[in-house]
């Protein structure tokens, strides 16, 4: 197969040409700046390209959604971010937002309507499920056939928004063994990074939350810990390093698993 460079469409450029893409893909700060997580957004745009979906990103106009600021108590900063983002999004007449980040998903879907930012928000696992079910993505390669995958529920997709099924549905289409952790779905244990924790030291305790969760994931004997959130990825990746399991156990986002299965 021929290697082909993808040009990522940017909203301002399309708008200048009077084009209106169907989706805005919200990359998020982690997608833009976290070296490991950049690979997830790259994987997802490969899928978008493969499907021929009409989309664009905001590029250098994108800014923080304000999720962290709000949960860390800085409502002023959150609302400034929200209002500036909404002005930008409405200016581009955005109707549908795609994102890989459950925190952005939650903020757009549940909190921006508080300031007249009303969008149809789709998490990438929901988008992938829909396209796999519709038969648009043939993910039947044998690459994970011998592997066991365990899925870690992000709080902001799971408990916060009740989406437990979509990511599992996607994994069900990937030929592989699946194993649930002891605490899953509603009862899943947080990775430890939400609510601002990602950006500060943990309070004094017996243990770091990410280690507790990684240990639980390792107990399943899985070869792959699947995540669907940038914070969870950072935490679980650290956990695997801490437990010296980098060789044996991989941490992939659902989008990466799909890309590897598609071989694109």
């Amino acid at each position: 197969m021929e290697k082909r460079k993808i040009d990522i469409p940017v909203m301002a450029d399309l708008f200048a040409k009077n084009e209106k893409p169907e989706y805005l893909f919200w990359v998020g700060s982690a997608g833009a700046f976290d070296d490991r997580y950049k690979n997830v957004v790259r994987a997802f745009v490969k899928i978008l390209t493969h499907l021929g979906v009409s989309y664009a990103v905001l590029g250098t106009e994108e800014s923080s959604t304000g999720d962290v600021a709000r949960r860390a108590g800085n409502e002023m900063l959150f609302q400034m971010q929200a209002m500036m983002n909404i002005e930008l999004l409405n200016g581009y007449e955005v109707k549908k937002i795609l994102t890989c980040d459950p925190h952005a998903y939650n903020t757009f879907k549940n909190e921006y309507p508080q300031y007249d930012g009303n969008y149809q928000v789709i998490h990438h696992t929901q988008f992938l499920r829909d396209h796999i079910e519709a038969g648009n993505l043939k993910v039947n390669s044998a690459i994970f056939k011998e592997k066991t995958i365990t899925y870690h529920d992000p709080c902001y997709l799971g408990r916060a928004n009740g989406e437990y099924a979509a990511p599992r549905k996607v994994l069900d289409f990937i030929p592989s063994e699946k194993k649930e952790m002891k605490r899953n779905k509603n009862n899943a244990l947080c990775c430890g990074a939400g609510g601002g924790q990602m950006f500060k030291e943990a309070e004094e305790g017996d243990k770091e939350i990410f280690i507790e969760r990684t240990e639980e994931a390792l107990e399943t004997g899985a070869d792959i810990i699947a995540t669907a959130c940038p914070y969870c990825m950072a935490m679980i990746t650290d956990g695997i390093k801490y437990k010296n399991k980098v060789e044996e156990v991989k941490n992939y986002d659902i989008a990466e698993i799909v890309v590897l299965s598609l071989g694109i």
Partner: protein, 444 residues
């Protein structure tokens, strides 16, 4: 006649005292900020039906759920018998409903069965708390009073049920004695089992025992009724309204702050004018119970300290100080303290609200900052209490009023403010990731 008067006096006293305490709690709850909750009435009733009456969320822990159903169902069913006891007491009758004949015997036997399930439930609960020492009943905030409170409730229920059974057993024997006038309705299913213990006693002792148990039970009920509002056991009343008024929106949504919206609009929009020009001073976030909404305060009074929230809290599981149950218990304690001062008719200056302790005298910043906002606590609570909302309101106070966020979070705030990301990277570099994306390229 004489006993009727005594009974009516005790009954009225019990009702008046209970009413006054409940009214005080209602006033206390109303000390919270006013919010209107009147949307989706149908859905709210549905949740009352499933979550409060149907105890749906209890099922996440099946053993506790089953035992709780025993006590809960027993409590409700035995209350039917309370109707007869109350009427008997007022009218000076004995087993007034016995005119139902054979059906009466069946009903009382069913009540006895439920009394047994209540006793079984309470006994196992006592064992779980005091002998098995299940962890969530022994967390730090479970000091002597909350632990005793639970035991007092369980032991009282055991005693009240025992009284009914002994009363019925002796009644059954007395019915067969030619020298007593007890209405013949036959012995009852469960209490007949313990009749041999009493069958050797003379009728006078039996009558004394029967009457003693009757009075012991009903006065016990009146005392218990008046104990409940001082206890965690108040959940038997507040669970229903609390579930009714609980949040319907997705758990991930945080409450908006319109007062901040006004400020932000003044900053961002040139021709934005402040329409309602009331220069009322508002506190951002929550420092005192006055800054919380009445719903948060109702949450505090509804909590029965079961600790499901704390036992599922990732911060607590990993040994941090944060315990969602403690947040709710502290809110109630602080509220009670302030209500006592405010509603005290002989208020002196030292009872001034300004001198009262605030939520921060109970809850430390360390606890608040350990929360990951994962919503495990709100999901776990069988009666939809929202400890997370209180934590977040208090964080808002720390940041917006005191600028007292932990240092690293202050850096995060300035990064977001200056370069639109929580990390210190330039907004201009937001497309770096997009420079080298290839189809059919090898993934790392």
């Amino acid at each position: 006649m004489f006993t009727s008067i005594i009974f009516i006096l005790i009954l009225s006293g019990a009702i008046v005292v209970f009413y006054r305490k409940v009214r005080k709690i209602t006033r206390s709850i109303k000390l919270g900020k006013d919010i209107v909750i009147n949307d989706n009435i149908l859905l709210r009733w549905k949740r009352v039906l499933f979550i409060a009456i149907g105890q749906q969320k209890m099922l996440q822990r099946p053993i506790a759920a089953l035992l709780h159903i025993f006590v809960y169902a027993g409590f409700i069913i035995v209350n039917i018998e309370m109707c007869e006891i109350l009427i008997d007491g007022v009218a000076g009758t004995h087993r007034l409903f016995s005119f139902f004949g054979g059906f009466y015997g069946i009903m009382v036997s069913i009540f006895e069965l439920f009394a047994i399930t209540v006793m079984f439930g309470c006994a196992v609960f006592l064992i779980r708390r005091n002998i098995l020492r299940i962890k969530r009943f022994w967390n730090k905030e479970m000091t002597l009073w909350p632990r005793s409170d639970a035991n007092i409730i369980l032991i009282t229920e055991l005693l009240l049920m025992s009284a009914i059974l002994i009363m019925n057993a002796t009644d059954g024997i007395l019915q067969t004695r030619p020298d007593s006038h007890y209405v013949k309705v036959g012995s009852f299913m469960i209490s007949s089992i313990i009749q041999p213990i009493f069958s050797g006693l003379p009728s006078s002792s039996l009558i004394f025992t029967e009457r003693f148990c009757w009075w012991f039970h009903i006065i016990g009920v009146f005392i218990f009724l008046n104990y409940i509002p001082y206890s965690k056991h108040f959940h038997v009343f507040l669970s229903f309204p609390n579930v009714y008024y609980s949040k319907l929106r997705p758990a991930g949504e945080m409450a908006n702050m319109p007062s901040i919206t006004k400020e932000v609009k003044l900053m961002l929009e040139e021709n934005y004018s402040d329409q309602d020009d009331d220069n009322e001073e508002v506190t951002f976030g929550a420092k005192t119970i006055r800054d919380l909404t009445w719903k948060h305060l109702m949450d505090a009074y509804t909590c029965t300290e079961c600790g499901r929230c704390t036992s599922s809290c990732p911060a607590n599981i990993t040994g941090k100080k944060l315990s969602p149950r403690k947040i709710v218990m502290d809110t109630r304690d602080n509220l009670e303290e302030i209500a006592d001062k405010l509603f005290n008719k002989k208020r002196s200056e030292k009872d001034d609200e300004q001198n009262a302790r605030s939520l921060f005298d109970f809850i430390s910043a360390e606890e608040l900052w350990a929360c990951t906002t994962c919503n495990a606590c709100t999901y776990e609570c069988p009666v939809n209490i929202d400890p997370l909302a209180i934590i977040l309101e208090m964080r808002r106070y720390l940041v917006l009023e005191e600028s007292a966020a932990p240092g690293p979070l202050n850096n995060t705030f300035s990064n977001i403010e200056n370069n639109g990301a929580p990390w210190q990277f330039s907004q201009e570099d937001r497309m770096e990731w997009a420079k080298d994306v290839y189809m059919n390229g090898i993934m790392e």
